[in-house]
Amino acid sequence: AAAGLCPCRVLLSRRGGALRVLRGSMQGLAAGPETHFGFQTVTEAERREKIYQVFESVAKKYDIMNDSMTLGIHRVWKDILMHKMNPSPGTLLLDVAGGTGDIAFRFLNYVRSVRERQLQLKLRRHQNLSWQEISESYQEDKFNSLGDSQVVVCDINKEMLKVGKQKAQHLGYSEGLSWVLGNAEELPFDDDKFDVYTIAFGIRNVTRIDLALQEAYRVLKPGGRFLCLEFSHVSNPLLSRLYDLYSFQVIPVLGEVIAGDWKSYQYLVESIRRFPPQEELKAMIEDAGFFKVDYQNLNSGIVAIHSGFKL
């Protein structure tokens, strides 16, 4: 009897499935083509909504979770990104998906220290000036500790921006910093504005990566640099297995225990697996018009920094 019922049920559910696909594609025409959310298949509109909700719910614990999941190593990755960028004072940086401000704060620290070094060198050359002239030069440089460098933090999620602003206040960052609500696929900026564009651990969550890359190209000045820090693919098989074990077994548990949110962190590890590997991303960046595109693997490919120039 069970055997007899089974095929019927399979048939019915298959027909139901076909109807569902039909309905899905009808909706798809309205809501956008099919894409992925972690390992699920959803429409583009659904994906945007779900990702917004993920970051809305993790915003407050974002930094704590980053530290516990990566055992603090994410700070090193971001420092390496900043050293690769090597910004000089006067640089205008756009940090997209910059949410809680990690890159922006590092940028401000970096240009401030470069500026200090510059000023020290300048003063050393002024050995034969009078005290009057030296104190005057102190005065004018005091108001220019950043050397006109500026960073614009752009994020699509209000909660993440809110956390970022609070952090900035708490840590004492005020000048050279602005916060803008915006979508990486459609940036609210004019063409040819920025010297550097960064997107750290954000491009994975963008639904149309090609659009984001095109926008990056658009808002950069000629000679501007595109930098992308993102989780990527590990080719070493042993490390890959360990990494998978850690990602799928430990990270959602950490999410549940620390943030009370298993599902967001399950999404996170699945989205890393779904993201294009290094070479594919490099090709996509080249397609957007960037030149001298290259990538640098960190920790054998767990993370990669892609770089390109608008010429």
Partner: protein
């Protein structure tokens, strides 16, 4: 490898992208595994491979172990994380819960509860009717308890990590009946009262979470309270717990009119000191 059955004790290492895209394994019944293509769409709620009930998150044995350790540590570190206490109960209850379920099955009233699956929620409680009941009746005292302590039965977390749908109901019932335990034992919701109820529940249910809560809860009490706890309350709770029949076997929703005293006698709880 995936057909080796659900009793594989080693931690599963998932292949990165699996055919149906599911990288989490669980030792849940394999019945859901076969018709994965179509049935998965129907059963799959939000996330899990094959979630057995709304809110179910399938977990591997390693994940359960990590969750148990993590939630135990977090509950001690931050006692206000009630969700962690709940998770601890779910991940460590794999022996106690089937035990409880069997006790319920072999009792006529318990069996009825398992069949009908009543839920205690503010929306299902007829508070006007309960308020109209005479003082000393279960319904009236329960309502008084909820109002005095400003708690609500709706704040109980639904189970997520229990891999059996019936056991998920059992633990849900246990959580919802917890407030009624307070009423029957006459204990308030302060730390002292909670610890006493935990001792009672530990004897009654054998849930490791209750045992841990009973053992570690007193750590945060003052010396005076500890003394009262040790000399009067805990011995009474243990005696009552041992003497009483299984508290999950009472269909409370049908006994609102019954006086608390008589219900205590029926179950076998000694009068509180």
């Amino acid at each position: 490898r995936s057909l080796r059955g659900s009793r594989a004790p080693r931690a599963p290492v998932p292949d990165p992208p699996l055919p149906a895209g599911r990288a989490c394994l669980s030792h849940a019944e394999p019945r859901a595994r076969h018709g994965r293509g179509q049935e998965e769409e129907e059963q799959e709620q939000e996330e899990g491979c094959y979630s057995l009930y709304p809110g179910h998150i399938p977990t591997s044995p390693l994940q359960k172990a990590l969750l148990a350790a993590g939630s135990a540590a977090m509950s001690l570190y931050d006692p206000y994380r009630h969700d962690m206490v709940a998770v601890l109960g779910e991940t460590t209850g794999c022996l106690a819960l089937p035990n409880l379920r069997d006790k319920m099955k072999h009792h006529p009233e318990g069996y009825r509860i398992l069949q009908e699956r009543p839920r205690i929620r503010l929306s299902t409680l007829d508070t006007a009717r309960l308020r109209a009941l005479p003082d000393g009746s279960l319904g009236r005292e329960y309502l008084r308890f909820l109002e005095d302590n400003k708690v609500s039965p709706d704040t109980r977390m639904p189970p997520k990590f229990v891999d059996d749908e019936e056991l998920a109901y059992v633990i849900q019932r246990y959580r919802e009946v917890h407030d009624l335990m307070h009423t029957l034992l006459g204990m308030p919701t302060n730390m002292l009262g909670e610890v006493v109820v935990k001792w009672f529940e530990a004897i009654q249910t054998g849930l490791p979470m209750c045992v841990l809560g009973a053992a570690f809860g007193p750590v945060r009490l003052s010396a005076r309270k500890l003394q009262v706890l040790a000399t009067e309350l805990v011995p009474w709770a243990i005696r009552s717990g041992r003497n009483a029949s299984c508290v999950l076997n009472i269909y409370y929703e049908q006994r609102w009119e019954q006086p608390v005293e008589s219900l205590r006698e029926e179950i076998g709880i000694f009068p509180p000191p």
